[in-house]
């Protein structure tokens, strides 16, 4: 851990995509330590650390690992999710590009703990340069006896491969990712069976996010209590917050779980350009329902955000200033889901399209009296009726903006309808 208390940031700042730099940070010492422990001991340490999945769902990592059946007759796989495509999220890009070796070390520890000898890193196809960096670091690790046969001189064998996606947000959903990795289109699977029982190639599989795995080596090195104590009661450690939109200093900030949202916006990200007022903020990637300015004293903790009806998700904070037209903002959000719906489930395929069409029509001067109610009802009818959470997110986002900012939506609608009737040819003739 560095002087300023950050864990992964110093690795990123010191180009730990190169092995010689990572060695200066006790690189691969944690893996050596873990390989001397029993598998169960490693899982227990991670459980005690309160490390939770940092990709979006926030599931406790150690508990997930413990779901792998003991003495499986089939091979076990570890899959790293670097599909990072949730709008507002860009943290994993930094880890895989510049702290690559801590990810590889985390992969060794996690693979050992779950009994995997093959790991695939699934990276979004657009991340061309980050994928090259991972390939280069993997090669360095093989050449140094860190990967391959007899990892770090032990009897443990491990192969790690990069697998590039090809442009589909849905592949960030773990079962869609597994189908994609099997060479199929990225359609989510029904659960159960959960991947830990039947995942990649119908074998027990753990899918973990990049950042989650990157925190494993420091946890093993410094002990679970050290990590747990930094965070909140049920969510340990630090994490990366990405902040973008109308702020002075957009970027990633590694801070303790539970850092207040207000502090994120006004201290770390330097506030809003031009001293403008805050209108709305999305706390955890575009799928997290929006918050009003009077709600930003909430700590960035999964439980605290869930309590006020939103979620920490990928911790990608999107800030909107007072000039933002929220009808347009909702359209930009919904257009995304419509574009990215995998089309497997009818409520999502059709529903996201209807939401998009209504919003596009509203914004091109064709607003109708019942539009807001329709948006709300369609949102409701998608929710809970699809295999994966993409449709749920679209529904929650549509309802979220209307719930929190109904006044603005109604004002836009009446203004737009008034303008339409003033321009209608029949009225002009009558006057």
């Amino acid at each position: 851990m560095s002087k300023n208390g950050k864990i992964l940031t110093p690795l990123i700042e010191n180009d730990c995509n190169l092995l010689e730099n990572y060695k200066k940070f006790k690189g691969y010492e944690a893996a050596k330590k873990a390989l001397k422990m029993s598998q169960d001991e490693v899982i227990e340490e991670v459980q005690k650390s309160n490390l939770r999945g940092l990709g979006g769902a926030g599931f406790p990592t150690g508990r997930k690992w413990a779901f792998i059946p003991k003495n499986s007759q089939k091979p076990v796989y570890l899959v790293i999710n670097c599909d990072e495509s949730e709008p507002g999220t860009f943290k994993d890009k930094y880890i895989v590009s510049s702290a690559t070796h801590v990810l590889i070390e985390g992969i060794i520890i996690a693979s050992y703990a779950i009994g995997a000898h093959t790991c695939y890193i699934y990276i979004r196809g657009e991340y061309v340069e980050p994928a090259r960096r991972i390939e280069a670091a993997i090669k360095e690790a093989y050449d140094a006896g860190i990967l391959g046969k007899k990892v770090l001189g032990t009897d443990f064998n491990l192969d790690v491969y990069v697998h590039r996606g090809a442009g589909a947000y849905i592949c960030g959903e773990e079962t869609a990712l597994l189908n994609s990795l099997e060479g199929k289109k990225g359609w989510p699977r029904m659960k159960p069976p959960f991947p830990a029982i039947e995942g990649l190639f119908r074998c027990p599989t753990i899918v973990n996010n990049v950042e989650t795995i990157a925190y494993v080596p420091p946890i093993i090195q410094n002990g679970p209590k050290w990590f747990a104590d930094m965070g909140t009661e049920r969510s340990g450690g630090m994490r990366f917050y990405g902040i973008s939109g109308n702020v002075n200093k957009p970027g990633i900030y590694e801070l303790p779980v539970g850092t207040p949202l207000r502090e994120m916006i006004y201290e770390h990200a330097g506030g809003i350009p031009g001293g403008k007022a805050l209108k709305c903020v999305v706390p955890g990637g575009v799928s997290a329902p929006p918050l009003r300015p009077d709600e930003i004293d909430v700590p960035m903790d999964p439980d605290a955000l869930a309590k006020i009806g939103t979620m920490i998700g990928s911790a990608g904070i999107i800030v909107m200033d007072e000039d933002t037209n929220l009808v347009e903002m909702l359209m930009a959000s919904i257009r995304f889901y419509h574009h990215e719906s995998c089309a497997q489930c009818t409520p999502c395929r059709e529903g996201t399209g209807w939401l998009d069409k209504i919003l596009q029509r509203m914004l091109s001067g064709g607003a109708r009296e019942r539009d807001i109610d329709d948006l709300y009802e369609i949102g409701d009818s998608i929710f809970g009726n699809t295999i994966c959470p993409l449709g749920d997110s679209a529904g929650m986002v549509a309802k979220g903006y209307i719930d929190k900012f109904r006044g603005e939506f109604e004002a836009y609608l009446s203004k737009s309808i008034a303008a339409k009737s003033a321009n209608s040819p029949e009225l002009k003739k009558a006057s």
């Binding site: 495509s85 709008p87 507002g88 947000y169 990405g242 973008s244």
Partner: protein, 158 residues
Amino acid sequence: MSFELTKESKLVIDELLTRYPNKRAAALPVLHVVQKQHGYIPAEAEPLVAEILEVPPVKIREVLMFYTLFLQKEIGKNHLQVCRSVSCWLRGADRIIKQINEKLGIHDGETTSDKQFTLTEVECLGDCEHAPMMQLNDDYIGDLTAEKVDEIIGKKGQ
């Protein structure tokens, strides 16, 4: 018209196939190799890829139609993929797109007649801290301004 893999592509594909317990799993990586060699994935390549992966050709077609990065026709030398998602939209992505529309006379999905540029409006590329941004072929270019866009178009268009 027939499609053939170069010797280099074949070598890369042979190695890729060793990474998975079955051949079909190499579909995405193999299609990336084909696209890298040819610029896009011609229809003639589909039966060849299907043969390598030991699946019916329809399974390849299905994959090609699902993933946006696989191109099925020739595009311009410079592929301008401008992000229009929320964070870029908040910082003026619309202005960048409009500037390209006017300057090059192309809209989403279109290519200039001299085959120099193709414009695609894309969803979030994970570079929100540099909004508004675009991907030019493989590279990310962030903090776009009108001047920067002019410069990109001017330099690449020669």
